[in-house]
Symmetry: C2
C-alpha cells in the first residue's frame, strides 16, 4: 500500500468528528470517593474500573476525540499500577479512539530508542506520546523513526513540550536567547523543520506527525504561538482544573488545530455535579462516571462554541 | 534523633571508601551472549541474573560506590521488565550500596508528586533519582521534599540534568541567554540556591542532597563547570563507551567530587576481555560477570590515578 496514515492525522480527524476534547486519565485513587474504592479488591482495581467506565461512555457519546493517560499516577502505584496503565491503553484501543501516553520522556541515543520501543510497542503501546526535548534534538530521532511511513501498520505521533502551563515555564522555556527568541522558539524551529521533512514523506497529509504541547494559560502568548506554528497540531493542557479559559484554548484550536486536555475537571466532576450532590444515597462508580460524561459533554460544547465565536470574530 | 543523613552524603562517603565508579545497569538483553540468554526462562530472567551477579561481585570487591539503573531498558521490556527493575533495585539495597534510578522524569505539580512517590517509595524505591528541569524549577519541589530531614528514615537525593554528554546538548542546554550565561547556568543557579537552603537544614553535612548530571565530554567545559559549582556533587556520564576520557572525568571529581558512570563498558566487557576471548568453550553468565568485574576494577583505578595526577598538578 502506497499511502499510510499516521496517528496525528487520525487524531486530527477524530477531533473534527468528536470535537477537540481530550479526556485526561490522571486517575489517582484518591480522586474517587472512598466508599467507591472500598468496593474493589484494591485501589488499582477501582482505578481500572473507573477508567473503563469513562472510556466506554465517552466513546459511546462521542464526547472526546482521545484519552491522555498520565503515566506518573500509575507509576506511583508500582507494578500493579502499571498493569492498570497497560490495561487502560488497551481499553482505549478497544473502543477505537486514540491514546496519548503522557510520559514526557527524553534521553539520548540507545536510551531514547529503549523509551520509544517501550511506549510504541508491547505492553505500553500508545498511538502518540509526549516528549521532553531538553537534552537536544538528537534525542528526538529515535522517536520520529516510529512516525515514518511503515508497511507494518499505522505510524505513531509525538507531542513535544513547547510551552507548558505551569508558572515555572519562565525559568527555562520562556528565557530570552542571546540570538533572539525564547528557548521555546528553538524547540519550535526544530518542530517546523521536522514538519517540513514529514510533508515530503506524507504528501497527501494535512499535518505533521510531530505536534507540540502548548498550555492555554496566557492569551497573548497563545495567539503568538498559534501564529508562529500554524501547521503544527497542538496538545493543549491547562484548561479546566488548572485554570485556563476556553477562549485561550480556542485560540490554540485555530489554524492546524489541536486537542484540549481536561483531567481532574472530568475525573472529579462528581464533586461539583448537581445530580451527584443531591443524591440521597452514597455515590457509586456509575454515578461518578455519569458526572464525568456530563462534564465532558459540557467541556466539548464550551470549547466548540468558543472556537466558533473566534472564527466569526476573525472572519 | 537530631541528625539524619541524606542519600547524597552517603553516596559521597561511599565514593570515598569504594572509589568513584558508578556501575550503570542499562542491561538490554542484547548485551548478553545469545547462548547465555537462552539458558534462562526469558530474556528478562537473564537480565535479572546478570544484574544480581554484577551487584554481588562489585560489592564484594568494593569496585563501585553505587549502581545507576537506567529504567528505559526495563520499560522497553514492558511489565516483566519493570519487575526486573524493581528486583534489581532491591538487590542493590541488599548489598548495602546506593541506587541511582536514572529516570529523568520531570513534570508539574501533582504529577511531579506522583513521580516522586513512584521512585522514592514502593516497588521502585531508589536512593537517588535523576530529574529533568526543563519545565521549570517549580517542578523540582515535589522531589526536594523527599530530600528534607525526616524522622521516617534516610532522606533521598536528586541529580538534576545540568550538562549532558550528547552532541545535542548545544540545542538547548548550551544556548547563550540574553541575560548572560547559558541555559544550563540558569539550572546551575537554582542548584546553588537549593544547596544554600539545604546547608541550613543539614548544617553538619558536607554536600547538598541535590546534585547535578555533568557529562565528561569536553575538558574546558568540565573545568568551568567544576569551578562554577564547587559544592555540588556530580553524576558524571560519558566515560567509557560514550567516549569520554578519564582525565576529563577526573577534573569533575575535584572539589565536592562525584561519581563516574560506566554502563556498556562494564556490561559488555566480555566482548573485549582477554580471558573471555581466549576461552575454548562458550561463555557463561559467570564469565561475563567476571569480565565486568575486571573492567570495573580497571576503571576504578584509572579514575583514581587520573584524579591523583590532577591533584598533584594543582597542588
Amino acid at each position: 500500500m502506497e499511502y499510510e496514515n499516521h496517528a496525528m492525522q487520525s487524531l486530527k480527524t477524530a477531533a473534527h468528528q468528536n470535537g477537540p476534547l481530550c479526556v485526561g486519565l490522571d486517575t489517582d485513587p484518591s480522586y474517587l470517593p472512598a466508599q467507591v474504592v472500598a468496593q474493589f479488591a484494591s485501589p488499582e482495581e477501582a482505578v481500572l474500573a473507573y477508567n473503563k467506565a469513562l472510556i466506554c461512555r465517552m466513546a459511546e457519546k462521542k464526547a472526546a476525540s482521545c484519552f491522555k493517560v498520565q503515566i506518573a499516577y500509575y507509576e506511583a502505584q508500582g507494578l500493579r499500577g502499571l498493569e492498570v496503565y497497560a490495561k487502560t491503553l488497551a481499553e482505549v484501543k478497544k473502543v477505537g479512539l486514540l491514546s496519548i501516553a503522557d510520559i514526557k520522556r527524553g534521553d539520548i541515543a540507545a536510551t531514547a530508542s529503549a523509551y520509544a520501543k517501550a511506549h510504541f510497542s508491547g505492553d505500553f503501546e500508545a498511538d502518540i506520546i509526549t516528549i521532553n526535548p531538553y537534552m537536544g534534538f538528537d534525542t528526538l530521532k529515535p522517536f520520529t523513526e516510529y512516525c515514518k511511513k511503515s508497511p507494518a501498520g499505522a505510524s505513531k505521533g509525538l507531542f513535544v513540550l513547547l510551552r507548558t502551563s505551569n508558572p515555572g515555564m519562565s525559568d527555562i522555556e520562556g528565557k530570552e536567547l542571546k540570538a533572539g527568541g525564547r528557548v521555546l522558539d528553538a524547540v519550535g524551529s526544530e518542530l517546523l523543520a521536522l514538519s517540513h521533512d514529514f510533508t515530503l514523506m506524507y504528501e497527501t497529509q494535512a499535518c505533521s506527525p510531530v505536534g507540540a504541547v502548548v498550555g492555554c494559560t496566557e492569551e497573548k502568548d497563545a495567539l503568538a504561538l498559534r501564529n508562529a506554528y500554524k501547521d503544527i497540531f497542538f496538545l493543549i493542557p491547562g484548561y479546566g482544573a488548572q485554570g485556563g479559559a476556553a477562549r485561550i484554548a480556542a485560540t490554540l484550536l485555530l489554524q492546524s488545530g489541536g486537542v484540549v486536555n481536561s483531567s481532574r475537571g472530568i475525573l472529579c466532576a462528581y464533586k461539583k455535579d448537581a445530580l451527584c450532590l443531591t443524591k440521597e444515597r452514597e455515590l457509586t462508580l456509575q454515578d461518578c462516571a455519569d458526572a464525568a460524561l456530563r462534564a465532558a459533554l459540557f467541556a466539548k460544547e464550551e470549547l466548540l462554541s468558543a472556537k466558533r465565536a473566534l472564527e466569526e470574530a476573525y472572519a
